[in-house]
């Protein structure tokens, strides 16, 4: 049974049946899932959630699915108190939501788990996406689990490691020889023509809802409260918007108190359309051509950028950008202080957080959650030149002591 009631246009409010559509036919605004919150409030409690399995699906009542879910073991990832990193950044209550520990090593498993479930409900025999990394692996893995075909479009010049991360699940992988805009256009045309569940096109309203589970989990793991600050990497902007939606849903249902979380966006300086609009004091996004090592955040024309800016404004948050050098420094600092090896988006969050503290947007004693959304093994090339190669010694004690001597004692 699903508590979702309709798809609703975020702009004009028109409602549509729950079908594989993502745009309002009248105003072309994006569609979002609407729920029967009265029934959810009646049926859902902290105790019921706590008794459910430790996965994102413990919040199934708040997700738009009705049948058996396609689950490869996603969610309920650790929320770790990061005292060492906190000391470095001047924060006494810093927590890291570590989504490196999902089955395909990124938060994308949350959204794809919902998308794959929904695609199967709709009767599609295939799911599809266009990706430069994390999404490709997650879609391929969920398709394998669900017995669905997967069509995955990647740029022709994608690194071998990232191709392998998807290819191992044996999807149909297609490399597209074109620039970013051409690939975008091709995928929209494919979604119009082929009977696929294109996860972030015709399934997008459902897909995006999966990110709400990050908000639910953080609130539950903090002892049923919302943090003072959430620091989120921004690509399409949907993640930031949905964490905020998730926290507010819990509050509306009486599961947590009022939400006063300030939502902060972090982007790479080489692709920062949301940060630039925030600084310009406008909600109008000026699309940019991405030029950054943070490929997982390289969306120049973010679909939810406008809504991310609205959320930042409503919540009293801020936005900050990190240069490529700061991104690498952020990855290293996180690894060296907390033992968490994040991909480039994690470096953006850590360095962006440092800026937010320096600018006074976040105070020393406030409770901060930084969202680490993907594992560093996916972007080894970003840090390959900045870590020290090991010295070579002979297999003798003398050789070791000649090099290290008393330093090892």
């Amino acid at each position: 049974m699903s508590y979702a009631t309709a798809l609703r246009c975020r702009e004009c409010g028109r409602e549509y049946p729950q079908e594989p559509i993502n745009v309002c036919e009248v105003c072309f605004g994006p569609l979002e899932v609407a729920y029967d919150y009265e029934s959810i409030a009646r049926d859902l409690s902290r105790d019921k959630i706590a008794a459910a399995p430790a996965s994102m699906w413990r919040y199934k009542e708040l997700l738009p699915v009705s049948g058996e879910v396609i689950d490869i073991g996603t969610g309920f990832t650790p929320l770790t108190k990061a005292d060492n990193l906190g000391r470095e950044l001047g924060l006494r209550q810093l927590y890291l939501k570590n989504d490196c520990l999902n089955p395909t090593y990124s938060f994308k498993d949350r959204v794809v788990s919902v998308a794959a479930t929904k695609a199967k409900e709709f009767g599609f025999s295939a799911i599809a996406c266009t990706s430069t990394g994390n999404l490709a692996g997650s879609v391929a893995a969920h398709a394998a689990r669900a017995g669905l075909k997967a069509y995955i479009f990647i740029p022709a010049d994608l690194e071998q490691g990232k191709i392998l991360g998807a290819a191992i699940y044996n999807p149909t992988l297609i490399a597209v020889n074109g620039n970013y805009d051409e690939v975008n256009r091709l995928c929209n045309e494919l979604a119009d023509k082929y009977p696929w569940g294109f996860v972030n096109i015709n399934i997008r309203p459902y897909y995006a809802e999966g990110s709400k589970t990050l908000g639910y989990e953080v609130a539950e793991q903090l002892g049923w409260r919302a943090p003072d600050h959430a620091v989120v990497p921004v690509a399409s902007g949907a993640l930031l918007v949905k964490i905020w939606k998730g926290l507010n849903e819990l509050s509306m249902l009486g599961l947590i108190g009022p939400v006063s979380t300030r939502m902060h966006a972090t982007q790479a300086a080489g692709c920062a359309p949301v940060v630039e609009a925030f600084r310009a004091g406008t909600h109008i996004i000026r699309p940019v051509k991405p030029n950054t090592i943070a490929k997982s955040l390289a969306i120049g024309n973010p679909a939810d950028g406008y809504y991310a800016l609205k959320t930042i404004g409503e919540s009293g948050g801020a936005a900050s950008a990190a240069t490529d050098a700061e991104i690498v420094a952020g990855i290293k600092l996180l690894a060296e202080s907390e033992g968490i090896f994040a991909e480039t988006a994690g470096g953006v969050v850590v360095s962006g957080l440092r800026h937010l503290v320096a600018e006074g947007a976040i105070k020393r004693d406030e409770l901060v959650v930084a969202f680490i959304t993907g594992c560093g093994l996916k972007t080894l090339e970003a840090v390959a030149d900045s870590v020290v190669s090991p010295p070579i010694i002979q297999p003798t004690l003398a050789s070791f002591e000649q090099m290290y001597g008393e330093r090892a004692l």
């Binding site: 009248v26 072309f28 975008n184 995928c187 690509a235 406008t282 109008i284 490929k295």
Partner: protein, 80 residues
């Protein structure tokens, strides 16, 4: 005949030019505006273009050459 849903993003120097009117006049393309947010120095317009594929492509190429960015309404779909 084809229909295409697009977003035009205007740079400041084109805000006062009737680009959408001229698109309809110079190409066999019917323009149907659905939503917009335009200020004195920036703006976007969401609209539907109706015509032959070739005419729409030529019209979009002309608009792009003027300095307007043209995107599908849903934003970028290539994700990390």
């Amino acid at each position: 005949m084809a229909k295409r849903r697009v977003t035009f993003t205007f740079p400041p120097e084109l805000i006062t030019e009737p680009v959408i009117h001229n698109l309809g006049q110079q190409f066999k393309v019917v323009t149907n505006i659905r939503r917009a947010d335009v200020t004195e120095d920036r703006g976007w317009v969401v609209l539907e273009l109706d015509g032959d594929d070739r005419d729409i492509d030529e019209g979009i190429a002309w608009v792009t050459s003027k300095g307007v960015r043209v995107d599908p309404v849903g934003g970028d779909v290539v994700e990390g």
